[in-house]
């Protein structure tokens, strides 16, 4: 079986329906995820030497950096929200004979997200 030869869709299938475009936007948030991981790699690389770290830090205060961060933030938030909303699909929890409803799992995910975010911000900024 070679599924790579089964292409039957037109190239713009993902533009033809809102839900398809939404799906493709969700998949492409992975680009922002990778870009930010590479950014963190650069942060770590510059931290080894004082001069390069100073230049990197100055760049972080530049409006272009702030703009790029805001774009990344919107894409990363899109990923977070869609990911947590899908958690009930992958995470099935039973309490005895009773299955915990999906809405409760998603709500727990969002609550956990907020708690973890506040904790990280507190530890970094204290």
């Amino acid at each position: 079986m070679n599924r790579e030869h089964l292409r039957v869709l037109p190239a713009d299938w993902w533009l033809r329906k809102r839900s398809y475009s939404f799906f493709m936007m969700r998949e492409l948030t992975s680009l922002a995820v990778a870009a930010y991981a590479v950014f963190l790699l650069a942060l770590v690389a510059t931290a080894a030497e004082a001069g390069s770290f100073t230049r990197f830090f100055e760049w972080l205060r530049h409006p272009v950096s702030v703009g790029l961060h805001l774009v990344a933030l919107s894409m990363v938030l899109f990923h977070s929200i869609t990911w947590i909303k899908l958690m009930p699909e992958s995470l099935v929890v039973w309490r005895g004979e009773e299955r915990i409803p999906g809405r409760l799992i998603a709500a727990g995910g969002f609550a956990g997200w907020i708690v973890v975010s506040v904790l990280v911000a507190f530890l970094a900024l204290r």
Partner: protein, 113 residues
């Protein structure tokens, strides 16, 4: 659809999920720290450097770099094929390889720090 070889797919799906969780829960707050807290002056250069060098923060950064790279590799590999670009087979080596290299680089840089 029985396969004559043992598939590595479960491993990539596992790394994709783990990276997805890490990115979903920890990326927004970290983006706010580097993109808003620093320009706003809530975090000075000295305190950021001290933070990055802290052993716990290094572990945090390793997890934040490595797993999300595998999340990207997996999701983007399939998204490109969904867009009619490239092939799953070739992108497998390229993308997981890139994520693996990023992981090694992160580990090496963080240990040397």
């Amino acid at each position: 659809m029985t396969s004559p070889y043992r598939s590595t797919d479960p491993l990539w799906w596992l790394l994709f999920s783990a990276g997805g969780v890490v990115a979903a829960f920890l990326f927004p707050v970290t983006v706010v720290l580097t993109g808003i807290a620093i320009p706003a002056g809530w975090l000075t250069e000295e305190s950021l450097l001290a933070l990055v060098r802290h052993p716990l923060a290094r572990l945090y950064l390793f997890v934040l770099i490595s797993l999300p790279l595998f999340h990207w590799a997996h999701r983007f590999r399939y998204a490109l094929v969904d867009l009619g670009l490239g092939s799953l087979g070739r992108q497998k080596v390229l993308f997981y390889g890139a994520a693996g290299l990023g992981t090694l680089l992160a580990g090496w840089l963080l240990i040397r720090l």
